[in-house]
């Protein structure tokens, strides 16, 4: 029976099952294949903080969501159109997120009494009619996988493990994706274990053919390739992109990269990535704590390296004092804060934007630090690179704000040509330049930047530290006028960066009824929402901040060109607070503090509310 193929522009699918069901892998491979056929996409894993929760439990459910389409895709999708649920717990946990009318593919085999009970179902939802608003497709996935692998001489455990490839095959059939890339991947990955490779391939094909032949599927979908900017692409996770951004910056600058970090969710992958790049002159130092992490990085910068330190909220708090030292010492340093839900330990695996004001102000005394915020997984590369560039050029610590949501999410990245990246010039002070006078560590150039003189250079011996220093000479002093001068100079040095950063762009018209102003990972949800309301003809535009300190010079002007300003944030209104203080303009807020990203519909609805549209 030939089945109808319906063309759709985009679709959101979520794979959900036990931690042991391999849903992360399934999602990732599905993503790779989807990218290869030319769709734009965005992915987001969502796993429990327990390492291996007992099978079948609600808190043990691991999910992976994927949004792909023939148009530009900005988020991993609001609500899944398709849910694959490997057991009752996975169904229970995800049900509330689905579109009404969504397709649910369930592993029928897993709906036994024990699992139903573990998932706190009082009756079997596959039978009690409670799913009537959805299109439920019951597939005995375990049985079918076992059948397919019968006689291969594999253990029960080994066979059951293959069921995620069965699911993958089934969804490939549904969305008309090719099998070859995955078959090749399997062969490479399991090269050392041909039997397992064969089994996975068999399961994959079994899933695909099951879709084709079973009577229960009436519909297939096809998603045409997206029109993306030409180039070579790869998928990239936010944390990976940060790592690559740092390596790129250090290579362009021609200095070694030093990362001093302490593991913490959801930032650890930056450490993992970089620790594998020893041949790139990358030194990763797993420090005893976050304070040692930043302090080793400061030492590294003093010695002529690009010092970076990466962490999440609790660790970011611990670095406060040392950030002040970096401000005083005026050394390049990049601090990455991959935000997670706070306060305190909070909800470690959940996303949030709660650390903005801490990044701006969380240090004793007047200690200004530039801040850059990444808007998406791929943008993390730009953020890390630009932060490094500014840190080196201005001899200053720079903070990069990321979020669990984009750190763990992935999207296609148009791979840049290394030659096209902005130059990063390093001018270590040279003995020749100081033959007339003694070396003066706080002499400044036209940008108020002091020289970087590194140990090992004869004749430039000097001392720096956290005490206030005399202008030019760097001697320790508590001269009142000098202190005021230096405090202002440090502030001005940072504000002056605004002279070179690009003006803030506005997406949509430069003036109108409403401007949606955002920062960080809310970008995609806002863009989708703005696109939708603009499509209906409303005068709504978007401005999304990459530079948070200093802000682009034209931002004030932009704000005054709109009747209303809406700032959606995953916090209680931190950017809103800053905008009000800086520009004295009233702003509307949309705040969500649930450990979850915005749905674009949430932003959209708020826009309508502010426009007075019912």
């Amino acid at each position: 029976m030939e089945k109808e193929i319906k063309e759709i522009t985009h679709v959101t699918i979520r794979f959900a099952g036990d931690s042991g069901d391999g849903m992360q892998l399934t999602g990732n491979i599905f993503g790779d294949t989807t990218a290869l056929v030319g769709n734009d996409l965005s992915t987001l894993p969502d796993y429990p903080s327990e390492i291996r929760a007992p099978a079948g439990t609600l808190y043990g459910v691991s999910g992976f969501q994927l949004h792909f389409g023939s148009q530009e895709i900005y988020t991993p999708g609001d609500q899944p159109d398709v849910l694959v649920a490997m057991n009752p717990a996975a169904l229970k946990v995800n049900l509330k997120d689905l579109y009404p009318g969504a397709i649910i593919i369930v592993n029928e085999d897993a709906f036994d009494q024990k699992n139903l009970q573990l998932a706190h179902f009082e009756s079997n939802p596959l039978e009690d009619g409670s799913l009537s608003q959805f299109q439920v497709i019951k597939v005995p996935i375990t049985t079918l996988t076992l059948n397919a692998l019968e006689g291969m001489g594999l253990s029960m455990k080994e066979m059951t493990r293959c069921k995620n490839f069965f699911v993958l095959g089934l969804t490939y059939w549904m969305f008309d994706r090719p099998l070859e890339p995955t078959i090749n991947w399997i062969k490479e990955k399991f090269g050392k274990n041909p039997k397992i490779a064969e089994a996975n391939e068999k399961a994959l094909k079994a899933g695909y053919y099951f879709g084709d032949t079973a009577e229960i599927f009436t519909m297939r979908f096809s998603v045409k390739p997206a029109k993306l900017e030409p180039g070579i692409y790869r998928n990239i996770m936010g944390n990976e992109a940060i790592a690559l951004g740092f390596v790129a910056a250090s290579k362009k600058a021609g200095i070694p990269l030093f990362q001093g970090s302490y593991p913490i969710t959801p930032a650890s992958e930056i450490l993992h990535e970089l620790s594998a790049l020893r041949n790139y002159d990358v030194i990763t130092f797993q420090a005893e704590d976050e304070i040692a992490g930043i302090c080793t990085a400061i030492g590294a910068s003093f010695a002529g390296g690009l010092g970076v330190t990466t962490t999440s909220g609790p660790g970011f708090s611990l670095k406060s004092e040392a950030m002040g030292l970096a401000v005083m010492a005026e050394l390049p340093l990049v601090i990455v804060d991959v935000q997670r839900a706070g306060p305190s330990t909070g909800m470690p695996t959940k996303t949030e934007q709660g650390d903005l004001l801490q990044a701006l102000f969380g240090r004793n005394g007047e200690a200004p630090i530039p801040i850059i915020a990444a808007k998406s997984p791929a943008d993390c590369f730009n953020a890390a690179y630009e932060a490094s560039r500014i840190a080196i050029k201005y001899m200053t610590p720079v903070i990069v704000m990321s979020e669990g949501y984009i750190a763990q999410g992935a999207e296609p990245w148009r791979i840049p040509n290394p030659e096209d990246l902005p130059e990063i010039e390093v001018n270590f002070a040279k003995p020749e330049d100081f033959q007339e006078t003694k070396f003066q560590p706080y002499l400044r150039n036209e940008l108020n930047v002091r020289p970087w003189a590194i140990p090992g250079t004869p004749g430039l011996e000097h001392r720096i530290g956290g005490l206030e220093k005399r202008h030019i000479t760097g001697e320790v002093t508590s001269d009142p006028a000098n202190h005021e001068f230096m405090v202002k100079l440090r502030e001005q040095k940072i504000q002056k960066i605004a002279d070179e950063i690009p003006p803030q762009e506005v997406y949509g018209d430069p003036e109108g009824d409403l401007l949606v102003l955002g920062w960080g990972g809310t970008f995609g949800a806002i863009r989708d929402a703005v696109n939708r309301v603009r499509a209906k003809g409303y005068k709504v535009s978007q401005a999304h901040l990459f530079y948070i300190n200093p802000m682009p010079k034209n931002l004030g002007e932009i704000l005054h060109n709109f009747n209303k300003i809406l700032i959606p944030e995953l916090n209680l209104g931190q950017l809103a607070f800053v905008i009000r203080a800086k520009y004295l303009v009233p702003v509307y807020q949309l705040n969500k503090i649930q450990g979850l990203p915005f749905r674009s519909s949430e932003v959209e609805n708020k826009i309508y509310e502010l426009l007075g549209v019912k």
């Binding site: 692409y233 790869r234 030093f258 020893r278 040692a292 302090c295 040509n417 090992g456 001392r463």
Partner: protein, 342 residues
């Protein structure tokens, strides 16, 4: 540690900075500064390759007074800052000047981890058993019942034995000296500077303002000989005004014996072996003076060699490069499934 000889021979003056030294007149820190300035010229290291890192405290002002690269960090964090410096440029000779509060109170964690990792740093602990800069609170090395500004009824804190703590971390070089024994102090600084690996040198230092005389029973002429035993490799442990007392091992316990009454001779004494790999040996020496009647050892308790962190790290970098080739950005960017959009 760089091994290239300096072109010029240095004198102590080369290591004096132009800054006024701002310690209290009479402070033991002056002697330590002088001995460092006298010793550095003897190490085969170029001036520009030295870095002195410190935290906060009277002692931590040290870097300002030597005309070298210096980093006056924040309280307790000197070992971490120094580690970053050393790892980026392992050719540098990186020293930490620190106090008992700085290193052992707030900085204790960085200290024990630097020791554990055998990072090639030279740590000079100015132990005056008091917080000097904050005007006289007891420190983690102050004796029990000490009356200070923050313990008017006497502290209820047992002190650390810094040497024993360092040995507990298996530090590869552990030594002790005293501000008022310039010759010995110079020798110890030299030995620390020559050691490949983490060198920890505890220096008993007199704070004449807030803890005057804390070590006089060890440093002053009238007591010194009877209360201090100098550890010298390969030699028996002998002390006393007339070199008339020795340390003998009674099983695992050190005891004092007289060399005068004919019962014991030098041959019966404990012969010091700096290179004993077993930390338990150095531990025995470290705890010796806690027993009544036993003298306080100064000198090198332990020196062993094992690869340093920085060596192993850079060796790993070298090997990975050898295997994978110098990192190439383009290769790195493309190291994933890619696709082209035209």
């Amino acid at each position: 540690m760089t091994t290239i000889a300096p072109e010029v021979k240095y004198t102590p003056k080369d290591f004096q900075s132009d800054q006024d030294v701002r310690w209290c007149p009479g402070c033991g820190d002056y002697s330590i500064l002088a001995q460092v300035q006298r010793t550095l010229p003897l190490l085969n290291i170029r001036k520009e390759d030295y870095v002195f890192v410190s935290g906060i405290g009277c002692s931590s002002r040290f870097p300002y007074y030597v005309d070298l690269y210096g980093f006056h960090g924040i309280h307790g964090r000197a070992p971490a800052i120094a580690t970053g410096i050393k790892l980026v440029n392992p050719k540098l000779s990186v020293w930490v000047a620190t106090g008992d509060g700085d290193l052992l109170s707030i900085g204790g964690n960085h200290f024990i981890h630097a020791c554990r990792k055998n990072i090639d740093l030279k740590i000079l602990l100015f132990n005056n058993r008091i917080y000097g800069l904050t005007k006289g609170q007891y420190s983690p090395t102050s004796e029990l019942n000490k009356v200070t500004k923050s313990s008017p009824y006497g502290s209820v804190d047992y002190p650390f034995n810094p040497v024993a703590l360092a040995i507990g971390t298996e530090a590869t070089f552990v030594a002790r000296s005293m501000d008022r024994d310039p010759k010995h102090l110079q020798e110890m600084i030299l030995r620390a500077g020559q050691h490949k690996g983490l060198a920890f040198l505890e220096i008993y230092q007199n704070c004449n303002i807030f803890n005057d005389g804390a070590f006089f029973h060890l440093t002053e002429k009238e007591y010194k000989a009877d209360n201090v035993v100098y550890l010298k490799h390969g030699e028996p442990l002998i002390f006393g005004k007339e070199n008339d007392k020795g340390i003998r091992m009674d099983g695992m316990t050190p005891v004092v014996v007289s060399l005068k009454d004919g019962k014991w001779s030098k041959d019966d004494l404990l012969i010091h072996n700096e290179f004993n790999e077993d930390p338990a040996y150095a531990s025995m020496l470290a705890h010796m003076n806690e027993k009544p009647g036993l003298p306080t050892p100064v000198g090198v308790f332990r020196q062993i060699y094992k690869p340093t962190y920085d060596e192993m790290l850079h060796e790993q970098i070298r090997k990975v490069k050898e295997k994978k080739g110098e990192g190439d950005l383009r290769k790195l960017f493309f190291d994933a499934t890619t696709w082209e959009i035209k």
